[in-house]
């Protein structure tokens, strides 16, 4: 029995090590003065300083951020509506098709999504003359399409757990549906909307394959640039970028945990005082 739990512990420790060792090693080597990955040449911030002067990289990062913010926002709005419609509307016309279309992107190989969207954009340009060129707009459209699927999943699971009596009460008191929706439903859905937005934002910021297909000359996102660089092996400036992203993610996660922790304890206190 002892031996078995020791084995279990070893496997678990190995699993967590697997998840974190690569990340930690990148962070450490981002401060390495030497260009060689394994040789420790002393502590240095030269790769970070180098990033600041790299206009190509900064431009790509800004483009990626812009696409991520816009696509996450639109995807959250559209996804929330789809989730609500699927959850609340009885006998929705074309319900099966809608739920199929909205879950399929979750399991679709990215490479096919990218290829098929590119063909769509080319055919559209042929037929109606739009889009005239591919770039930030086409990438944003592609990202909205697959992010929406994730938002729907997140919002649906929140809806399934939500108490609808508050909305019903507001309706009974004569609230207009739109007003009730924005005053009651949206605030109640807020945690799901925020995590849906963050998920979409991350997925967009991270996407390499689909962007590569639907982008055109002149629009290089951060992942596209990184991919072009790392295809040739390890480059220390990418280590520095990774470290910056890790720090940003850590700060965001800590903030989210802090906020939701406060919200939860506030919620508990409120229900306790009400009950």
């Amino acid at each position: 029995m002892k031996k078995r739990s020791l084995m279990l512990m070893t496997i678990v420790a190995f699993g967590y090590a697997l998840l974190y060792v690569p990340i930690v090693s990148v962070v450490i080597y981002s401060f390495n003065d030497s260009r060689l990955v394994t040789l420790w040449g002393g502590f240095s911030l030269r790769w970070y300083a180098g990033l600041l002067g790299d206009d190509e990289l900064l431009g790509a990062a800004l483009l990626s951020l812009r696409i991520a913010v816009v696509s996450a926002t639109i995807a959250t709005a559209l996804g929330a509506i789809v989730a609500l419609a699927l959850h609340r509307v009885n006998r929705l016309r074309g319900r099966l098709l809608l739920s199929g279309m909205v879950t399929a992107p979750l399991v679709m190989p990215e490479i096919i999504t990218g290829l098929s969207l590119l063909f769509l954009f080319i055919s559209m340009a042929d037929l109606i003359g739009w889009p005239t060129s591919r770039g930030a707009t086409t990438i944003t459209i592609a990202h909205i399409t697959f992010s929406m699927a994730y938002v729907v999943v997140v919002v649906r699971s929140r809806l399934a757990a939500m108490d609808e009596s508050l909305e019903e009460a507001a309706m009974d008191l004569g609230g207009r549906p739109v007003a009730v929706f924005f005053d009651i439903t949206v605030p109640m859905l807020l945690p799901a909307l925020v995590s849906g937005w963050l998920l979409s934002f991350t997925l967009s910021l991270d996407d390499l394959v689909i962007s590569s297909f639907v982008s055109g000359p002149g629009a290089t996102t951060l992942p596209m640039l990184i991919f072009a660089k790392v295809r040739l092996g390890v480059t220390p400036d990418i280590n520095a970028i990774t470290t910056i992203i890790i720090v940003l993610v850590a700060v965001a996660v800590a903030t989210a945990a802090f906020v939701s922790g406060r919200r939860e304890s506030a919620g508990v206190r409120r229900t306790a005082s009400e009950g």
Binding site: Y16, P22, V107, P109, L115, L120, D126, D206
Partner: protein, 305 residues
Amino acid sequence: MTDETPNNGLRTQRWLRRAVTLPYLWLLLFFLAPFLIILKISVADPIVAQPPFTPLLEWGAQGLAGLKATFENYAYLFVDGYYGIIYLSSLKMAAIGTLLCLLLGYPMAYYIARQPPRRRQILLMAVILPFWISFLLRVYAWIGLLNNRGVINEFLLWLGVIDHPLPMLYNDFAVYLGIVYSYLPFMILPLYANLERHDHDLLDAAADLGARRWQGFIDVTLPLSVPGIIGGCLLVFIPAVGEFTIPALLGGADTLMIGRVLWDEFFINRDWPVASAVSVVLLLLLVVPILWFQRLQRREQELGR
């Protein structure tokens, strides 16, 4: 949903019904239409033009000239044994990667599910956390570790365990490692969701009746966790088959995975009809696991209510 005051419920419903038109049209245009186009192009002839394929419908002098379709692109896939080998190799690599993921993920999910609630949250968070850091960068991180002059090899050389570097990068081993590493959370989460629901009284009962712990696991826990196992495996297997980034960065020249071949067919050979046919066949291969997964999810949703 079972509304006592149907009037109000209906008003919201009417509003939602109208609002959903926009995302509906969006998905029809940007999700469904592209697939029809891919189907169309996969039966077109490649030509040297922009776009480099023949149109499916041609308006001739005598009206609609007729459907111009060719199955040559598909025939090419099957006559040329190369693609058959790549499909098989992708399926094999995804299957082995999934199995390895299960072998590591199951014990982890099992362990997490048996911790006290507070620790459970922390351990689960630790599994999900890396997911928020760029997938591309996390795969990249392995290049520095697995290199011939990478951290692991240098460490082993320093220990004296090996006297020349182990080839760990740019081969199938690196791809398996990449799959396990990248998809581990997708395996652990459904397994955990399943294992967490288990009634420990069942195990206690089994123990009371004299079952050894190992036996209890085989007879009780394992059979009960089958839905979680299937869910986790499908969640890893489906994306792994069409994976591009992992074989492109960690795989060797001889690592045959369809995602990478498709990329090359499109970006390097610029043969769009063949690339389309390749994707249609890939989708057909994935239809069964995808439908299976969707059925599983629906059942899960019904259970959740």
